[in-house]
C-alpha cells in the first residue's frame, strides 16, 4: 500500500508538483528569515506567527467583501510597519546580544502574538475563498488547485523583485553592507539602526505575503504559526545564510522530500522524516566544516 506511488506514475507527477508548489511558498518565508538572520544575527521564533497575522489581514479584507488575493499587496504593507514597530519596541534591545537572548525575546513575541490574534480574531479555524478553480492535467489524473499555482507565482515574483531591490537600491546596498560587516558599514556612514529596522520590516512584509497566500490555499488559526517557523528554519539551515537561489532550491527540495516521504513511509512519518533529514544535514555540515577548520557560528 505504501508503495502505491511506484505503481501509479501519475501519482509521482502529482506528488512532485504538490511538493514544489508548497516548497516555493515555504521558501518565501525562509528567505525572510535568512535575510534578517544574516543581517541582524537573530533567529526569529515569531516568524510563523507573523505569517499567520499576515493571513488574518487578508482574511479580514475577505470578510469586508474584497477578494483575498488583494491581501498579497495590502498585507505586506501593513506587516512592514508591524515589523518596524516590533523592531523599535523589542528587537533593537536584543540585536547585539547573543543568539539565545534573541530566541527568548522572539519566543515571547510569538506567545503575545498568538494570544492577541486569538483575542481579536477568535479561536476558530478560518479559510478565505479565492474561487480560482482547478487546473487538470493528463486527462484529469493530476489536479492542481489554481490557488496554489497563484501562490507559487506570487512568491517567485516577490522574491525576484526583492533580489533586484537588494542589488540596485540604496537601502538594499546598505542592508548588504551591514550584513557583511556592521561596524565597517557604520564607520562608512550607514545608519545601521535604520537598516536593522527596515530589514525586520521587510521580513515581516514577506511573512505578510506568505500569510495572505496561506489564507487562500491552507487554513488559518492563531496557534498554527510554529510549523512555519520550524519549516523555514530548516530551509535556512540547509541553504545557509545570504544565498537566495539555495533557499529556493532547498525550499522546493524539502517540499518534494516531504511529499515523497508521505507516499513511501506513510503520512505519520512525514514530519519525522523531514527532521531526520535535518539532523543528517547538520551532522554532514559539521563534518565538512571541521575538515575546513571553520565553525558554524
Amino acid at each position: 500500500m505504501d508503495f502505491l506511488i511506484f505503481k501509479a506514475p501519475m501519482l509521482m507527477v502529482q506528488a512532485s508538483l504538490d511538493g514544489i508548489l508548497l516548497g516555493i511558498l515555504f521558501a518565501l518565508i525562509a528567505y525572510g528569515m535568512a535575510l534578517q538572520w544574516g543581517v541582524m544575527n537573530i533567529i526569529n521564533i515569531a516568524q510563523g506567527d507573523l505569517v499567520i497575522l499576515g493571513g488574518y489581514i487578508a482574511y479580514t479584507i475577505y470578510l469586508w467583501g474584497i477578494h483575498p488575493a488583494w491581501g498579497v499587496i495590502i498585507s505586506p504593507i501593513i506587516m512592514f510597519f508591524v515589523g518596524w514597530a516590533l523592531y523599535k519596541l523589542v528587537i533593537n534591545k536584543v540585536v547585539d546580544r547573543d543568539l539565545f537572548i534573541s530566541i527568548l525575546a522572539t519566543f515571547g513575541i510569538a506567545i503575545v502574538f498568538q494570544q492577541l490574534m486569538n483575542f481579536i480574531f477568535g479561536a476558530d479555524v478560518v479559510v478565505a475563498q479565492s474561487e480560482y478553480g482547478t487546473t487538470m492535467l493528463f486527462d484529469n489524473s493530476v489536479t492542481l488547485p489554481n490557488s496554489k499555482i497563484f501562490s507559487a507565482f506570487i512568491s517567485v515574483l516577490y522574491a525576484i523583485a526583492l533580489v533586484i531591490y537588494m542589488r540596485k537600491s540604496k537601502l538594499g546596498r546598505a542592508i548588504r553592507a551591514t550584513a557583511q560587516n556592521a561596524r565597517a558599514a557604520k564607520i562608512l556612514g550607514v545608519d545601521t539602526e535604520k537598516v536593522y529596522a527596515a530589514t525586520f520590516g521587510i521580513n515581516a512584509a514577506l511573512c505578510g505575503i506568505a500569510g495572505a497566500l496561506i489564507s487562500i490555499t491552507l487554513t488559518l488559526h492563531p496557534y498554527v504559526g510554529l510549523p512555519y517557523t520550524v519549516r523555514s528554519f530548516m530551509i535556512v539551515i540547509v541553504a545557509g545564510l545570504g544565498n537566495l537561489p539555495a533557499v529556493a532550491v532547498s525550499g522546493m527540495g524539502l517540499g518534494l522530500f516531504e511529499e515523497f516521504a508521505d507516499y513511501i513511509l506513510g503520512t505519520e512519518f512525514r514530519i519525522g522524516a523531514v527532521f531526520l533529514l535535518l539532523v543528517l544535514i547538520l551532522v554532514y555540515r559539521r563534518f565538512k566544516l571541521s575538515k575546513k577548520r571553520e565553525y558554524l557560528k
Partner: protein, 413 residues
C-alpha cells in the same frame, strides 16, 4: 512589642485557618445555593468551544433556578457555578480543579471542554471523590480507566462515525465496502478511528487507506491523491475543525470523487458557512441536533431550546452547548433522588440515572459514558448558495433522505 506582634499574627492565622476550614466544609452548599465548580477554556485555542460550554451551563442554571430549583429534604436550593479559566491548558485545568476542591470547597464538578482537559481533571476529581458530570470529553480512554466519579452525558468518540459505515454497507446491498480514512494523531480522532476499525471488522469491510495526519499538518494533498488513485466507497476524515476545513477545501480543489464522505466537527467548523456549496453532501457526526424529538419539562424540545438559546446568546446553539445544559439537568435529577448532599449518595444516584432530556436519553454505562443515546448523522444540503445541515440518520429522526452517491465534481455546478 515584638511579642504582641507575634501573638497578633498567630491570632490572625488561627482565625484565617478556622475560616478556611469552615468554608471548605460547608461551601458545597452555601445558604440556598448548591455550588458547582468548573475549569473552562475561556482563553486559548479552545476558547470558542469553551464559551459554548459555559453558555450551555449558564442557560441551564438560570432555567432550573427560575423553575423552582432543586428540592432536597423539602428545601429548595439554587445552582451556582464557580468558573476558572483554564487557558486551554491541561496542566492549568488540573491545578484549577485542585483549587476548586481544596480552596473553594466545591464538592460537585462540571466538566471542562475537550477530551484532553477532561483527562487532566478526572484523576483529581477521582482522588478527592468528587462527582463530575462532564459534557465535552468523548474520548474512549476516559471510560476505560475505571473512574467511579466521572459521568459523561455524551456518546463516546468511537461511536461517532460507526453509523456512517453501516450506512455505506446498507447502500452497498449489505456487502462490505472499501474505506479510505485519514485521522489526526490525537486522542479523540484516534478513538473515532478505532470505532471505524470495529465497524469495518463487523461488516466485512476493507480499509484501503489508513493515514494518520500529524497535528502540525494542514495539507492533505498526498492523502487525497492516494484516495483518487484507489477509488474507495467511503472516505472518512477526522481532525477537528482544521481537518474538516482542510479536507473540504482540498477535496473540492483536487476534484476528488468519492461516493460518500464522512467527517466530524462540521458544525464546529461552520463548514456550510465557510465553504458553502463545496461542502454539500458531506456527512457529519453530531451528538445532537435541534430537530430531534426528545423532550423534557425544563427546555421543552430541542427546537424550543434552540430558540431560547438564540434569544439569550444571539447564535444557534452548537451541540457543545446543548450537552452542557443537559449536564445540569442530570445533576438536578441526581440531587433530588439522593435527597442528600452527601457526595457518595449523590454519586450513587448518578449511577442510577435514567432520564430523558431535550438533548437525549441519559443512562450511564459502567465506565461512566452515556449508553442511552445514539449518535446522529447529518448531511450538508444546499439550496442555491444557502447550505444547511439536515439529519439523515438514524431513520427515526431523519428529516431528509440520505443523498448517495455524491455526484461527481464534473457534474456539480
Amino acid at each position: 512589642m515584638n511579642k504582641i506582634a507575634k501573638l497578633f499574627v498567630t491570632f490572625i492565622s488561627a482565625i484565617t485557618l478556622a475560616l478556611v476550614s469552615f468554608t471548605s466544609s460547608f461551601a458545597k452548599v452555601e445558604g440556598e445555593y448548591i455550588v458547582l465548580g468548573s475549569a473552562i477554556s475561556l482563553t486559548g485555542k479552545y476558547s470558542s468551544n469553551g464559551v459554548h460550554t459555559q453558555n450551555g451551563y449558564n442557560m441551564a442554571v438560570d432555567r432550573i433556578n427560575k423553575m423552582g430549583g432543586v428540592e432536597v429534604q423539602g428545601k429548595k436550593y439554587k445552582f451556582e457555578i464557580i468558573y476558572y479559566d483554564d487557558e486551554s491548558n491541561p496542566k492549568r485545568a488540573a491545578q484549577l480543579a485542585e483549587r476548586l476542591i481544596k480552596q473553594d470547597g466545591v464538592h460537585y464538578m462540571l466538566g471542562p471542554y475537550s477530551s484532553g482537559l477532561t483527562k487532566a481533571i478526572a484523576p483529581v476529581t477521582e482522588k478527592y471523590k468528587i462527582p463530575m458530570v462532564e459534557a465535552n470529553g468523548a474520548s474512549r480512554s476516559l471510560f476505560t480507566k475505571g473512574y467511579k466519579y466521572l459521568f459523561a452525558v455524551l456518546s463516546p468518540a468511537n461511536q461517532y462515525l460507526e453509523v456512517a459505515i453501516d450506512l455505506a454497507v446498507e447502500k452497498n446491498g449489505g456487502k462490505g465496502v472499501k474505506i479510505a480514512q485519514a485521522f489526526e494523531q490525537d486522542a479523540f480522532s484516534q478513538d473515532v478511528r478505532l470505532g471505524i476499525l470495529d465497524a469495518a471488522k463487523r461488516t466485512g469491510s476493507e480499509i484501503i487507506i489508513d493515514d494518520k495526519l500529524p497535528k502540525e499538518l494542514n495539507d492533505m494533498a498526498a492523502t487525497l491523491a492516494k484516495v483518487k488513485a484507489v477509488k474507495p466507497d467511503v472516505l472518512v476524515v477526522s481532525g477537528h475543525t482544521k481537518g474538516a476545513l482542510t479536507a473540504i477545501r482540498q477535496i473540492s480543489e483536487m476534484k476528488v470523487d468519492v461516493p460518500m464522505l464522512a467527517m466530524t466537527h462540521c458544525d464546529a467548523a461552520k463548514l456550510s458557512k465557510q465553504h458553502g456549496k463545496k461542502s454539500e453532501f458531506a456527512l457529519c457526526a453530531s451528538q445532537w441536533h435541534k430537530n430531534l424529538s426528545y423532550k423534557d419539562k425544563f427546555f421543552g424540545s430541542g427546537k424550543k431550546y434552540a430558540k431560547d438559546f438564540q434569544k439569550e446568546f444571539g447564535y444557534d446553539p452548537p451541540y457543545q452547548s446543548a450537552e452542557s445544559s443537559a449536564a445540569l439537568l442530570v445533576f438536578k435529577d441526581a440531587f433530588e433522588r439522593a435527597n442528600s448532599f452527601d457526595r457518595d449518595a449523590v454519586r450513587d444516584a448518578l449511577v442510577d440515572t435514567e432520564m430523558q432530556t431535550f438533548y437525549g436519553n441519559i443512562k450511564f454505562g459502567p465506565g461512566g459514558q452515556n449508553v442511552a443515546k445514539p449518535m446522529i448523522l447529518f448531511q450538508v444540503r444546499c439550496k442555491g448558495d444557502d447550505c444547511e445541515n439536515r439529519v439523515v440518520a438514524p431513520t427515526k429522526w431523519a428529516s431528509d433522505k440520505f443523498y448517495h452517491p455524491i455526484p461527481k465534481w464534473s457534474e456539480r455546478s
